[in-house]
């Protein structure tokens, strides 16, 4: 924490220093690191798995128990909050076991992996030869990456279930059990996805979370928008799933297995091939695998061009948005790439594509987020944007940064969503930031306001928040890793960081501070009404009589815990320093370790070691770095640099400045410049920007574009096919239906019910058969 003391002087130094040393930056990136520095084989980094204790299988099983119990609640029409408490109980127990699993794994020493086989699932062979056998057990693969994901999946799941117990209270006895059933099923599926020992279990979980997402987005199934959104999410995800599925098929075809521990050694030769500069020797079919897997990841994690479903998914109940569409499910794509990281190193193109898609998504979503008025949608776009960051992190060989960002993002984004949910809940579904103001100062809304502030600071990357550290890790790496246009990616991400800070605090300044004013939701939101299936009776409508109801104990408790967790998450950066934080250690000991990095992406490995020192020793580290750089130490610029400085260090300053500028802009335009709840100085600026704000508000017309380019042509094609189907195919099918009927009606008279007729048939048939056999034998 000594860095605190010199942040301001160093900031100045870095800006001035950069002008001098600018020329070095490019050169530094080009010089390759000595091969021996990074020549850990992937397979060396991970010890072969050992069989683990069976209780680990209880982690996914407890949510299934929850599914059964809540289903029973639904069958017996329980009219209390029992399903919620059963869910919280099951998930909390699952979380406890996850902690125990982490302890168990830690006790086994670094790099350990554990495999727990629940039962044999598939075992097919179609010959004795090699590769003529398909085996996939229902087994769980536990390494540190698994633990990381499971800790926040079950932990957040428990908290959000608790929150939902109050949030969904209006639905008690109606959709309550159904909600929690799907909730439990989601956690089970997510556990399968994360803990699966092979790609098939992962796929099961992948589809399971997709299904639960569909069910929960469409929870208010009487509301057309919710149904539309659910369908959209489902269909868009299918496109991604196709990619994933093809990737899994191809993996099996090329490697003969889908099990991770068996896969890593088989992938290794190809990585070596790429490393030694013979990337062209890798068969196309192998280098195609990561591209296909990537398509799956883009679908699930809402990246270009498949991100369009996520903002619409906000039609679901807010706890669902928080858990599934912000914290956990959407990070499945990141998990997939992190888990299959060795596979992504066999293709020259896979990681750069991931990086560019991520960066463009981050920027695009941020610009859209700036122009929206629905606070939940703003959060949705910010999720898309932050996911873009995570993908960039993976692409620039900073799987640590990506995983750390997933981790911190899970907490602060859940906090933000739950705050928005509390507002929505309290103000009858009002989500328009022009119609709410000063919420934090209203009676009973203090905790919500504070939690929101914590979340916003994190998202904006305010210095020394968890979000700040995790974002910086990605930013820094994107400047030091040499790859196609990676420098540009860094700049895009930096700009996006500023935009993020702006739109985040735009929400905060407009909704949570400022003059107290509000309009309740004019259309009473369904989760406030009647589960969406009853008549909307508008119980407490009428703006004059409306009293916002402040959140109750469960909501405040959960928000408090989450806000605290968001702050504390930053602490993870300061333990296990030699591995860039706790998350870094977890990542390094798993398959997401990048030490098998490929030659095509030259990575400033030295920077890491130095940066670790810098974090610990503060100023001294910076000095050391400078000296080391001067002394050459193996390769003078074994690491890249940014603006002539150690990139991580520089990034602290630069991104702090960028973040503060964004916050400052928001402060100036939306706090100081506020005239009424609905208007602020920002509105005066709009004409100056021409049509851009309007385009951004209309999400750059992407939906309209997809509609025109994909949906409409498909619809036309569908009509054409329908016509062909009617005329041609139905004709054939009808014929196929008529022919057997005709034959049947011809031979039916034989079944005349007379025993003698039957005997004649039997004996005649026998005679014919004998005659035929005798003829054939002759």
């Amino acid at each position: 924490m000594t860095t605190l003391t010199h942040i301001i002087p160093s900031l100045v130094a870095s800006v001035t220093g950069s002008l001098v040393q600018d020329g070095h930056a490019d050169a530094a990136g080009e010089v390759g690191h000595a091969a021996e520095q990074v020549s850990h084989a992937v397979s060396q980094g991970i010890t072969p798995p050992v069989d683990g204790p069976l209780w680990i299988a209880l982690i996914p099983l407890l949510p299934i128990l929850g599914v059964v119990l809540t289903t029973l609640c639904a069958i017996f029409k329980v009219k209390s909050k029992l399903p919620a408490f059963l869910t919280v109980g099951c998930l909390a127990a699952s979380f406890g076991l996850t902690v125990a699993m982490y302890q168990h794994l830690s006790g086994m020493g670094p790099g350990s992996t554990v495999v727990v086989t629940a039962f044999e699932w598939f075992d097919l062979s179609w010959g004795a030869g090699e590769g003529q056998r398909f085996q996939a057990d229902f087994a769980f693969y536990v390494d540190t990456l698994t633990c990381l994901w499971m800790l926040f999946v079950t932990g957040l799941g428990t908290l959000i279930a608790l929150y939902a117990s109050e949030y969904m209270a209006q639905d008690v006895g109606k959709g309550y059990s159904r909600f929690f059933m799907a909730f439990n099923l989601f956690v089970f599926s997510m556990a399968c996805l994360v803990m699966g020992e092979n790609l098939l279990v992962l796929f099961l979980g992948w589809e399971g979370v997709g299904l639960c997402s569909y069910l929960l987005i469409g929870y208010f199934y009487k509301k057309p928008a919710a149904v539309e959104a659910a369908k959209k999410a489902f269909i868009v995800n299918r496109i991604g799933d196709l990619g994933l599925l093809l990737g899994i098929f191809l993996t099996f075809v090329k490697f003969g297995t889908v099990s991770y521990p068996e896969l890593w050694p088989l992938v290794e030769p190809y990585i070596q091939m790429v490393k030694s500069g013979h990337a062209g020797d890798v068969p196309l079919t192998v280098s195609l695998i990561p591209i296909l897997l990537m398509v799956g990841a883009f679908g699930k994690s809402a990246q270009l061009p498949l991100y369009v479903w996520l903002p619409d998914a906000m039609e679901g109940p807010t706890p669902v948005s928080a858990l599934i569409h912000a914290a956990t499910m959407v990070t499945a794509g990141v998990y997939l790439i992190a888990r299959m990281y060795p596979m992504f190193l066999v293709s020259e193109y896979a990681l750069p594509i991931v990086g560019w898609i991520g960066a463009l998504t981050a920027l695009l979503a941020a610009t859209i987020g700036m122009a929206q008025f629905d606070i939940k949608r703003i959060m949705a776009y910010s999720t898309v944007s932050q996911l873009g960051y995570m993908f960039c992190g993976l692409a620039v060989l900073s799987s640590t940064g990506a995983a750390f960002h997933v981790f911190t993002h899970a907490f602060f984004k859940a906090t933000l969503f739950l705050c928005c949910g509390a507002v929505m809940h309290g103000f009858a579904g009002q989500l328009d930031l022009r119609k709410l103001s000063g919420v934090a100062f209203m009676k009973g809304w203090g905790i919500v306001g504070i939690a929101m502030l914590v979340g916003c600071l994190n998202l904006a990357g305010f210095p020394f928040t968890a979000g700040f550290f995790s974002k910086d890790m990605i930013l820094a790496e994107s400047f030091v890793t040499a790859g196609p246009g990676y420098g540009a990616i860094g700049w895009i991400l930096l700009i996006t960081a500023g935009l993020t800070a702006y739109y985040t605090f735009r929400v905060f300044f407009r909704v949570f501070v400022g003059p107290k004013a509000f309009e309740p939701g004019d259309e009473l939101h369904e989760d406030h009404g009647d589960d969406g299936h009853g008549d909307e009776s508008r119980p407490e409508a009428g703006a004059t009589k409306f009293h916002p109801h402040a959140p109750g104990l469960a909501v405040n408790l959960v928000l408090g815990i989450l806000a605290l967790a968001s702050i504390v998450a930053a602490g993870a950066y300061f333990v296990d320093k030699e591995d860039h934080g706790w998350v870094g250690r977890l990542v390094h000991e798993s398959s997401a370790n990048y030490t098998g990095s490929a030659a095509f992406l030259e990575h400033g490995d030295g920077a890491h070691r130095l940066e670790a020192g810098a974090t610990g020793d503060g100023e001294a580290g910076a000095v050391e770095h400078g000296e080391a750089g001067a002394a050459g130490h193996g390769a003078a610029a074994a690491h890249g640099s940014f603006l002539g400085m150690d990139p991580h260090k520089a990034m602290y300053y630069v991104s702090s400045v960028v973040g503060l500028i964004g916050i400052g802009a928001a402060f100036y335009l939306h706090y100081l410049g506020r005239t009424t709840a609905a208007r602020s100085k920002a509105d005066d600026l709009l004409p100056a920007l021409g049509p851009i704000p309007r385009w951004a508000q209309h999400k750059w017309y992407v939906d309209e574009f997809y509609n025109a380019v994909i949906v409409v042509p498909l619809r036309v094609l569908a009509h054409v096919f329908h016509a062909i189907d009617r005329l041609l195919v139905d004709g054939v099918v009808n014929l196929a239906g008529v022919l057997p009927r005709f034959v049947g009606s011809r031979i039916r008279p034989w079944q005349n019910g007379v025993m003698h007729g039957y005997a004649v048939g039997m004996v005649g048939g026998l005679a014919l058969l004998i005659a035929a056999v005798v003829l054939l034998s002759m």
Binding site: L124, S125, W126, R748, W750, Q751, M755, A759, M762
Partner: protein, 536 residues
């Protein structure tokens, strides 16, 4: 011979159970009489457990692994069938006795029904134990004779009894004709080879090839036994008999004789086919089975299309399923792995078919409606329309089992059918596979009609109600659950099916003494010893 007792414990238990039910069933005490079903159930459970423990690979068996698979299968599906059949006989008589009618041992037939039930299952198990023609003949007759009585006994009410009698007479007389045919076939097979032991018959064929007498004998035997599996041209009785029997007995007929017949066909075909050293069947026998398979599935399906009575439809569908299984017989053992072994496919399909057809019949047996003052079983599709709404448990069981019968992926029947396809493809029978696929498509028409009727159509107004025997509903639900469960966990049984389908091959063309059994050498020697023991 005495050491064979060790393989017979399941049958012995069933025999004891059958004797017990017969004695206890004549007790004047109604509570005692009620215990007969329980006794039957317990003996089936014990038999299943003992069957699982049956040692494999005896020297005298042509399919050494079949017993540990077939016996538990028969006992466990038998348990399900027992649930369907509880209270199907004697219900009115017992009610009358409870209401004060004096007890007359001559009028009470429930216990006899259970005894026959157990005897027939025992016969089916004995088919799996059979090592020679005499044994097989006795086992087949033991399977069939009780079913004739069961069919006649199963009718309820005046109209029902009329029908069950008609079913009984057709079944018995045509069955006797079929028995005469396969018995004559057995006699010729014995004459042509000089032995009744399957192992020796196989060795004879391996050493000397086929001869005309044995060929004709085999054809007669196969065609005669196809009466049990209701294959064309011996299928004529099927629809009438199923329609005339109660739902439970029809379920019994669809599984037990079919299993006994299928196992017998596997044993008979093994002697001449792969066991005799060739990879495949002799062309004449293969053509015979080919014709039987194609005719059976096609006739079954096209006639099922036209039925309005559900029981008749299911009867024809049962014919079609026998045709599917014959495809597996033609495919042969392949290289022994599950996907290439037609024998394993047939055995696994028997399991699938047993569960799903029992489920469908159990649903029918669970429902009745008033007609002319007495309760009759539901018969037409109209009766069970909207069942998912009026009786959700039964309705959904029906849907699941029907989809499974159709082979709808990813439900059990689909996994049953896939190995049939793969094994036949592996053996190079592409045309047969195409015909099998076409037939599956035709079958979709009538299965989906039922599924749609049960799921979508409005409830029927014909006053259909539950029969009030919970065991039948339980059987239906268990079947539905089993179909779903086995869809997921069926791989366990695939493994044991693969083991059960292990075949023995006797190579060597010159002399009987050179014959050699591939799995275990001492087998053929032991068989030789037995041979001498019989001849002297």
């Amino acid at each position: 011979m005495i050491e064979r007792i060790g393989y017979l414990w399941p049958e012995i238990v069933l025999f004891i159970g059958a004797c017990l039910t017969m004695v206890i069933g004549l007790s004047p005490n109604a509570d005692m009489r009620k215990q007969t079903g329980l006794i039957a159930g317990v003996s089936l459970l014990i038999a299943a457990a003992l069957g699982l423990a049956t040692p494999a690979a005896p020297t005298w068996a042509i399919l050494p692994g079949i017993m540990p698979f077939a016996k538990p299968l028969i006992a466990l599906v038998g348990l399900l069938l027992l649930l369907v059949n509880i209270g199907s006989v004697d219900r009115d008589e017992e009610a009358a006795i409870a209401a004060g009618k004096p007890f007359n041992p001559l009028r009470v037939t429930g216990a006899e029904f259970y005894a026959f039930f157990l005897f027939s299952l025992m016969g089916a198990m004995l088919c799996a134990t059979a090592g020679d023609l005499i044994w097989l003949f006795l086992a087949l007759e033991l399977t069939s004779l009780p079913t004739y009585v069961m069919v006649v006994l199963s009718g309820r009410g005046k109209k029902g009894f009329d029908r069950s009698q008609e079913a009984g007479v057709k079944y018995f007389f045509l069955g006797a004709l079929g028995a005469g045919i396969f018995l004559y076939g057995f006699a010729l097979l014995y004459g042509g080879t000089g032995t009744t032991q399957f192992v020796e018959i196989a060795q004879h064929f391996a050493a000397h090839g086929m001869n005309p007498i044995a060929t004709v004998g085999l054809v007669l035997a196969l065609v005669g036994v196809s009466f049990k599996i209701a294959a064309v041209p011996m299928h004529f009785y099927t629809a009438d008999v199923y329609q005339g029997s109660s739902g439970g007995v029809a379920a019994f007929l669809a599984f037990v004789p079919k299993t006994a017949g299928m196992i017998s066909i596997l044993l008979l075909v093994s002697t001449v086919g792969w066991a005799a050293g060739q990879g495949s069947l002799p062309p004449a026998i293969e053509s015979l089975l080919w014709a039987l398979a194609v005719l059976t599935m096609t006739v079954g399906n096209v006639l099922a299309l036209l039925q309005s009575s559900l029981k008749r439809m299911l009867a024809y569908s049962s014919i079609a399923h026998s045709g599917y299984m014959l495809v597996g017989v033609i495919a042969g053992p392949g290289d022994g792995s599950f996907v290439s072994s037609g024998i394993a496919a047939v055995l696994f399909y028997l399991l699938c078919y047993g569960v799903m057809s029992t489920g469908v019949f159990a649903v029918l047996a669970s429902l009745e409606r008033k007609s002319g003052g007495e309760a009759v079983e539901v018969e037409s599709l109209d009766d069970i329309k909207g069942l998912c709404r009026s009786h959700p448990w039964l309705g959904w069981s029906m849907v699941i089992c029907m989809l499974s019968l159709l082979g709808f992926p990813p439900i059990l029947g689909f996994f049953g059918k896939v190995p049939l396809f793969t094994s036949a493809l592996g053996a190079g029978h592409v045309v047969l596979v195409v015909i099998l696929a076409l037939n599956s498509a035709i079958a979709a028409f009538y299965y989906l009609r039922v599924v749609a009727g049960v799921m979508i159509d409005p409830e029927s107004d014909s006053g259909v109600r539950d029969t009030g025997v919970p065991a039948r509903v339980i059987a239906a639900v268990i079947s539905g659950v089993l179909v779903l469960g086995l869809s997921v966990f069926g791989n366990v049984f695939m493994g044991s099916g693969e083991k059960a389908a292990e075949v023995r091959r006797f190579v060597g063309q010159s002399d009987e003494h050179d014959t050699d059994s591939v799995p275990l050498d001492e087998h053929s020697e032991a068989a030789e010893d037995e041979h001498h023991a019989v001849s002297h």
